[in-house]
Amino acid sequence: MIEALRFEFMQNALLAGFLVSLACGIIGSYVVVKRMVFVSGGIAHAAYGGIGLGYFFGFEPILGAVIFALGGAWAMGAAQQHRRERTDTLIGVLWALGMAIGIILIDMTRGYKADLMGYLFGSILAIPRTDLWIMAGLDIAIVAVTVLFFKEFLAVSFDETFARVAGVPVAAVNLILLSLIALSVVMMMRVVGLIMVIALLTIPAAVAGRFVRDLGRMMILATALGFVFTLGGLWLSHAWDLTSGAAVILVAGAAYMLSLLRRRTDAAGAPSG
């Protein structure tokens, strides 16, 4: 693995792994504590429609994915605001509909369909420099918005009713958070593919949540864990010639299972009174 670092694709892969870990550490923490795992899965799969759109009309598929992911995120956010019940049905429909639109548009596209599999299963070993810049830009945006809205995001995640009564514009704050999830999901698609995005988004945060007891530290630990999982997956993939995205998720999933075995450490000890 060390000698592999001489190659630019390996350096790019590591850099991509770090950039993606930052996004999944921060946004993944919100997804886990706010219980939006299924929503995130819906956003990721809806994004495939955008990829199909990009192929069909001959523009950058990632741009199409961003449009569809944002559109899907906003539709789910609106649904959650207006009709409380049956939101999961709508998410399931958007999930499948996005995939269907993508598949049909790609069917209708003539000619060679370059790196289609990359969107489904990830292609961390084939990430060009330009994409790294885009990822870095997205990371900066995610960090900036999170710092700016930290207390509002926390309030809306912890107790939405109280946040509303305390004058927080809950609908707008939720929409901003959903938009960040959409952008993170598209970014992660390059690394593990849309099918496994939910795993990379949630596992580092879920494992971190078993060790720390405040949101800021959860984000930091989740970022570190995400990077470790990516590195481990890359090594596995390099050593045994496996699909890199799947290898990353295998490592992450194994770590999650191990973390379940560990009893939670509560600094507080047993509740009293």
Partner: protein, 262 residues
């Protein structure tokens, strides 16, 4: 009947009807809360206690009638209400410390794009001190008992600097000893704030609150401190067993009731 017209009106409900599209949950509710009141609203589950609170917080628009909080409609007037929610189901895994949860009481004072200030921290510290939770401020919320968690929510409401405290079942899922502690805390706080509290804990509140109302679609409130068997029968549509702590001269008719009043 201890109406003192000299005290200003804090909350005024007139002929209030509210519901969720179907049959009304609240029918023709009239209520006047005066400054310094400590009112306990009892009633069965589904009797409309939570609906009444939603209306007061401006989260549910009433079908009919008027609501005024310090003379303003609820969506505006709720900035004068310190709200303590009912937390039956709580996500014990949520990564947050006592301090950060209590500090949410300052959200209104620090709007978007503004950080909490030293003044906010001082106010949160004072509020946590008042409820006796200051020593546990770095504890994770998930590591607290139900009663301790409720105290943090009271601190969060106090940090809002609101003259009205509105509590939804503050002793739900709290053990009896902690319930007593909570009521005693509220009685102390009542020296400086007006309190309106929904609860199903019929027995205990009669010792602590100043006045009691019974709510089951209709509100039976006469500004008196006595729960009469008639009020309860009207509210619950059946006689209720209750133990009136500290009210030795009242005896209620005995009757079997499968409820949770103890």
């Amino acid at each position: 009947m201890t109406e003192e017209p000299s005290r200003p009106e804090v909350i005024v409900l007139r002929d209030l009807w509210a519901g969720y599209g179907g049959a009304p949950v609240l029918e023709s509710v009239d209520l006047t809360v005066l400054e310094g009141d400590f009112i306990g609203i009892v009633g069965p589950n589904g009797g409309g206690k939570t609906t009444l609170i939603k209306v007061l917080l401006g989260l549910l628009v009433p079908a009919r009638g008027s609501v005024r909080i310090l003379g303003r409609p609820p969506a505006e007037g709720r900035d004068r209400i310190g709200y303590v929610p009912q937390h039956v189901e709580y996500d014990l895994d949520f990564p947050i410390r006592v301090w950060d949860a209590a500090r949410m009481g300052r959200l209104r004072n620090r709007g978007l794009f503004r950080r909490y200030t030293r003044e906010d921290d001082d106010r949160v510290e004072e509020a946590l001190r008042e409820v006796g939770m200051i020593d546990l401020r770095f504890r994770p919320m998930g590591g607290l008992s139900g009663g301790q968690r409720q105290r943090v929510y009271v601190a969060r409401a106090l940090a809002m600097d609101a003259p009205i405290l509105l509590l939804d079942e503050p002793t739900a899922s709290v053990d009896p000893h902690a319930s007593t502690g909570m009521y005693e805390l509220l009685r102390e706080l009542n020296d400086s704030v007006t309190i309106l509290m929904a609860t199903h804990d019929v027995g205990a509140i009669s010792t602590y609150v100043k006045t009691v109302g019974c709510l089951n679609r209709h509100l039976h409130y006469h500004g008196g401190s006595q729960i009469t068997p008639e009020m309860l029968e009207q509210a619950y549509h059946c006689p209720v067993d209750l133990i009136a702590h500290g009210v030795p001269h009242r005896v209620f008719p005995e009757h079997t009731h499968g409820g949770d009043q103890e």
